[in-house]
């Protein structure tokens, strides 16, 4: 029964959606302090290569590789974040884009370590590792009526889902705290924030590093979901894709980049039936949206509207919907 509904292909798209949500957050978090970073693809690559190489050459468990990949990306985040503090807007965007290209070129040319543009294959696969562990405990997916590869993709999907939900929860709570207020204040008026006693250096580097950690984490997961990576995965195109998730979805509230990542990952798949025209439609949609809604699709007004709709449906609401007016 269950088995007929589980198509590994759809599950894999689901996994990419979740990884893309994490990547979209990696742009959203620095942007919530006003830092437009295009370095996410670079940090993603650092995380992916670090984790892949560690798990292949040292046979470390995947979780150790992922943690190491995340931390290496975070470390580079601090190294890039500190000297670029004074840069704003497009200037920061250009520097971070340059950083991403440098990383990619290093991957291409350091052939003894990275196998150059051929890429690294045979990276330990999260799903297969989970299956192996389960089998060691005497569990067999057939007992649920699932084939091995259905189980593999299902387990990755749920693992990524739990991780993504946790991260969204984490950054939503952060945005509603003293740290989130400091981010928002810096975004709205850096000089005023500084005069109100906010250490802008600390919070800007913190936000930038959080972005790097997120991208590095997503990259490490990506390596172990695909089992194959090459420098082309972390090129300029990837950087722009990630940026578009956030710009398309909207950068005012966390739901913007999440929506952008979901919608824009699904769209090319849904449009697959018109094959080569689909990226034309993709591009056209972005152009139209940017012309009509430059703040992105999801903004504070829409969130408040949805909230008021939801609370009207509830039995008693009162203050809630009035507040959101």
């Amino acid at each position: 029964m269950l088995a007929e509904f589980i198509n590994p292909y759809y599950l894999q798209i689901g996994c990419f959606v979740l990884i893309n949500i994490i990547l979209a957050l990696s742009v959203f978090v620095p942007l919530s302090t006003g830092q437009l970073s295009l370095a996410s693809a670079g940090f993603m690559g650092l995380g992916a290569y670090t984790s892949a190489l560690l798990t292949i050459h040292f046979e470390l468990p995947i979780i150790v590789g992922v943690i190491a990949g995340t931390l290496i990306a975070g470390l580079f985040g601090i190294l890039i974040g500190v000297p670029t503090l004074r840069l704003q807007g497009v200037y920061l965007a250009i520097v971070t884009l340059g950083f991403g290209e440098v990383i990619r070129v290093v991957f291409v040319n350091w052939e003894s370590l990275t196998k150059g543009s051929v890429g690294i294959s045979g990276i330990p696969h999260i799903g297969r590792e989970i299956l192996k562990t389960f089998k060691e405990f005497g569990f067999n997916p057939q007992s649920l009526g699932l084939q091995n590869n259905q189980f593999i993709f299902l387990s990755i999907f749920f693992l990524l889902l739990v991780i993504t939900v946790f991260l969204v929860w984490f950054f939503r709570r952060q945005s509603r705290s003293r740290v989130g207020r400091a981010y928002a204040a810096i975004n709205l008026d850096e000089k005023a924030a500084e005069s109100m006693g906010i250490n802008i250096t600390y919070y800007k580097v913190l936000a930038f590093t959080q972005g790097a950690l997120l991208a590095g984490f997503a990259g490490s997961l990506y390596a172990h979901v695909l089992a194959y990576i090459s420098p082309a995965d972390f090129s300029y195109h990837r950087a722009v894709d990630i940026l578009v998730f956030t710009i398309f979805g909207g950068s005012e509230v966390i739901w913007g980049p999440i929506f952008g990542a979901i919608f824009l990952t699904f769209l090319p798949e849904v449009l697959r039936f018109i094959s080569e025209y689909r990226y034309m439609i993709y591009g056209l949609m972005i152009i139209i949206l940017m012309a009509v809604r430059p703040q992105g699709l999801i903004d504070v007004t829409i969130i408040n509207w949805i909230k008021s709709k939801v609370s009207k449906r509830g039995v008693k609401h009162g203050s809630r919907s009035e507040k959101s007016m």
């Binding site: 984490f170 709570r173 952060q174 705290s177 003293r178 740290v179 989130g180 207020r181 400091a182 928002a184 204040a185 709205l188 008026d189 000089k191 005023a192 924030a193 500084e194 005069s195 109100m196 006693g197 906010i198 250490n199 802008i200 250096t201 913190l206 504070v300 507040k323």
Partner: protein, 257 residues
């Protein structure tokens, strides 16, 4: 002595915006800084709060040299300011604006914020009640949920004062708080600044509204072309020939004019 400015100089390229200005402010007084447009008053504020570095001279706050500290450190030491051209956080509500002001008197980090530890919740509660109290203090209690950009001009000015007061300053710098206000609003502002004084906060005030300055200030310093030309009580200042000349021009000039 709360604040002591010693021979402060600031040059922008060849232009001396402030040169050799010295004055000192006693604890609990309201000190006025006046002068014609472009006299260097706001520059003086920017020097005290380290928005610009001093070219030479010293700023001493509570017996401590605060030259070269970062602006946020200065706020932490107990000096907070408002801006001549209002600089609130426009998309935040009035309450959130004041809550940002409490930032340097609170300390929850990322992890305690996300996992809402007991001390974080307590602190957040304290920040909120402090914001409510200050909004009431400046008469904006009913506007807590309104975003700052939607407030009327006079309300925005008062919100800036509430936000600055949220950092528990010993010295409050007000940059033209009455600018753009009508007579009733100016009267309210007078009461508000008096109330701030009665809370034990020393006030340094830049203002062009002379009746307000004369009524409010204990002592006044006058700047003209970046130099201090007079200092004294309001009565002394009103009768100082140099001040009258700076504001109205000298009598001889008028004869030739």
């Amino acid at each position: 002595m709360v604040l002591e400015v010693k021979k402060a100089c600031k040059n922008f390229g060849g232009l001396a915006a402030v040169s050799d200005v010295s004055f000192s402010i006693q604890k609990g007084e309201i000190f006025g800084l006046i002068g014609p447009n472009g006299a260097g008053k706001t520059t003086m504020f920017n020097l005290i709060t380290s928005m610009f570095p001093l070219s030479s001279g010293e700023v001493i706050f509570k017996e401590e040299n605060i030259n070269g500290l970062k602006p946020n450190k200065i706020t932490e030491k107990g000096i907070c300011r408002t801006f001549q051209n209002i600089r609130l956080f426009p998309l935040m509500t009035a309450e959130e604006n004041v809550m940002v002001g409490v930032h340097c008197r609170s300390k929850s980090g990322v992890l305690s914020s996300v996992f809402r530890t007991k001390s974080q919740r307590k602190e957040e509660e304290h920040i909120r009640s402090r914001a409510t109290e200050l909004l009431e203090f400046v008469g904006l209690k009913d506007f807590a949920e309104v975003s700052a950009e939607n407030l009327a001009y006079g309300q925005q000015r008062r919100l800036e004062i509430a936000r600055a007061m949220a950092s528990d300053p010993n010295l409050l710098l007000l940059d033209e708080p009455a600018a753009g206000m009508n007579e009733t609003e100016t009267d309210d502002l007078f009461q508000l600044i008096k109330k701030i004084q009665s809370r034990g906060v020393t006030v340094l005030l830049i203002e062009h509204d002379m009746p307000l300055v004369m009524k409010l200030c204990d002592r006044i310093a006058v700047l003209n072309f970046g130099k201090k030309i007079a200092e004294g009580t309001p009565t002394e200042i009103q009768n100082n020939p140099q001040v009258i000349e700076a504001y109205l021009g000298s009598e001889e000039e008028e004869e030739y004019a």
